[in-house]
């Protein structure tokens, strides 16, 4: 009878726990501050940037506020977004183990595989919330401080405001997909320890290492296997017509990571002694 609400009940509960935490809101707030600070800094600086100076798109922000979100995403991707992602992903199992609540969930009982899936989906929801928060905050502050109008894409084509908003949502979605591999890696690392900070640090280091390797030309054969490799390619969404090949490659790569680290997490967690 309640068969249908089975997993939904736990999923809803997982999200409620996540969004009861002040930490979650603090991280979303900090993510929102990235475009806001960026826009204010640009607004206040008197010298106009020459086109091409500073991060990509930065010079365009003053001409069209809708570029704020894209620019902020570029700034957030190397460190800040992965930082929040590693906090959430590293916390999944290790956080419950550290608190001791894991043993009470398991004897409730909840099936271990089911708990893993729910934990993973929870982190994915956070990634979605984070990327959409960033883009939405960018659009809003951009609209407040700068003129807003039809957007000139990288290809030179011009799109109208509603379509520009649609592309923003696509960028948020693309970035969420980009995080899937890292989230799965985090889930796995989280099953290895009862100390959440350890797991979080591990995931963050992995994203740093991956980005460094991606910048070493000597390792070019490795690049397309790195989970950070396609992160910045969201810029392809700003072309007309949209360049979808990186989208597809990225999705495949991320799903590969999910399969590998999801299996490792499953193998580890379903046989692990819960001694905390």
């Amino acid at each position: 009878m309640f068969a249908k609400s089975l997993s939904l009940s736990l999923m809803a509960s997982e999200l409620r726990v996540m969004f009861t935490r002040r930490r979650t809101w603090a991280m979303l707030f900090a993510i929102a501050m990235i475009p806001i600070l960026l826009a204010i800094a640009v607004y206040l600086s008197s010298d106009r940037l020459a086109p091409g100076e500073g991060p990509p798109f930065l010079d365009r922000v003053t001409q069209n506020g809708l570029f704020t979100g894209f620019t902020a995403m570029l700034l957030a991707l190397p460190l800040f977004l992965p930082l929040t992602i590693s906090v959430v992903a590293g916390d999944t199992i290790a956080g419950e183990a550290g608190l001791g609540t894991l043993r009470y969930l398991l004897i409730a009982p909840v099936n271990r595989a089911r708990l893993l899936v729910v934990k993973y989906l929870g982190t994915l929801v956070f990634a979605l919330a984070g990327t959409f928060t960033l883009m939405a905050a960018g659009a809003m502050i951009g609209a407040i401080l700068f003129p807003v109008g039809p957007v000139t894409l990288l290809s030179g084509d011009v799109i109208q405001i509603p379509e520009a908003l649609g592309r923003m949502a696509l960028v948020a979605l693309y970035t969420t997909i980009s995080m899937m591999g890292m989230l799965a890696l985090g889930l796995f690392i989280s099953t290895l320890t009862t100390i959440p900070v350890g797991a979080m640090t591990g995931v963050l280091i992995a994203s740093g290492v991956s980005q460094i390797l991606d910048n070493l030309p000597q390792l070019s054969w490795l690049h397309e296997w790195l989970f950070t490799h396609y992160w910045l390619d969201f810029a392809d969404i700003l072309r007309q017509p949209m360049e979808l090949s990186s989208f597809g490659d990225n999705l495949l790569l991320q799903l590969g990571y999910v399969a590998v680290f999801g299996s490792l997490a499953y193998g580890r967690f379903t046989t692990k002694d819960i001694l905390s």
Binding site: S5, L6, S7, S13, R16, L99, R103, Y104, R114
Partner: protein, 314 residues
């Protein structure tokens, strides 16, 4: 579904090794349904480790487990909804209220009915006397309140078995008394209770059966009465004329008398007629200022069993 078996918990040669240390070493428990079963042992004797294996949190290195007639770990998901447990102290999300913590755990259990969830949570909180603190965040709870919230969690649904690992740990005397009363009232409802403790007095007060653990092994197991009967009943006697009294006692078949201050202490059968001995002594003009039987205490039995008394062995 077959008849309910005789045992709520049954283990056979249950073993758990951590490295080369055997934390639990081939124990065979038989916990009768409906009993209040004391699992007594000093700190580090393997109680919590055993409980973790019973509940499927840790995998046994060797041996078999049956929990409410279900094979563990194979039929864990069927057995666990019928079991409420407190393992190694309570654990909750500190940033959530007591009530929301219980709702969270109940939501995890896919066998529990969401439509009655809130009512069950409130009833459990009421039962442990936490209704007034239900909306407070758990980080503001005292240890005693957390312990009770842990008990409330175990009582979210009607259970056949409660596994309580040191439920009075960290409680003040008042809290300890309340928890013990709660356990009594649960036992009176016919729920089997498996209670681990390092406190002999607690087990003696609450339990009708007991298993004694030491260094991973069960040293003794049975009903409290059975275990008590292992000890020696003694006659304690204080009289004015000791030598004469010794002779008279011999005629009554009482020898091996020891002396402690003015008291005479003699091993006797537990059904000895004290009044009759008193009568004999008085008839021979001996003044008896004290005469009584001292029944064997469990504590002595444990000292016998463990040799060095009730200390941490490792």
């Amino acid at each position: 579904m077959s008849e309910k078996g005789q045992w709520a918990i049954e283990t056979n040669g249950l073993t758990k090794a951590f490295g080369d240390q055997k934390a639990v070493h081939g124990i065979s428990l038989a916990v009768p349904r409906g009993s209040v079963f004391g699992f007594l042992g000093p700190n580090g004797s393997g109680k919590t480790t055993t409980i973790r294996m019973l509940l499927g949190l840790a995998e046994a290195t060797d041996g078999e487990i049956k929990l409410l007639d279900h094979q563990i770990p194979k039929e864990l998901q069927v057995a666990l909804p019928k079991v409420g447990a407190l393992v190694e102290g309570p654990a909750f999300y500190p940033y959530m209220s007591g009530r929301n913590n219980l709702i969270r755990i109940d939501s995890a259990d896919r066998f529990s009915d969401p439509s009655t969830r809130k009512a069950r949570v409130d009833a459990a909180l009421e039962r442990v006397g936490l209704s007034n603190a239900a909306k407070k965040k758990v980080h503001a709870y005292s240890l005693g309140m957390k312990q009770r919230l842990g008990l409330a969690n175990a009582l979210l649904k009607p259970r056949e078995l409660l596994v309580l690992d040191e439920p009075t740990n960290g409680l003040d005397p008042q809290g300890t008394r309340e928890v013990r009363n709660l356990i009594r009232s649960l036992a009176a409802e016919g729920i089997t209770i498996f209670l681990s403790s390092h406190l002999l007095t607690e087990i003696e007060q609450l339990c009708d059966h007991v298993a004694v653990m030491s260094a991973g092994k069960i040293l003794a197991q049975g009903s409290l009465a059975e275990l008590r009967s292992h000890g020696q009943t003694r006659l304690i006697l204080r009289v004015d004329k000791i030598d004469e009294a010794v002779d008279i006692l011999k005629t009554q078949g009482i020898g091996k008398i020891k002396f402690s201050k003015e008291n005479m202490i003699a091993p006797v059968a537990e059904d000895i007629d004290v009044a009759k001995i008193n009568e004999v002594l008085v008839k021979k003009k001996i003044k008896v200022s004290e005469i009584r039987l001292e029944h064997p205490s469990l504590e002595e039995y444990f000292v016998d069993l463990t040799g060095e008394g009730f200390e941490v062995v490792r």
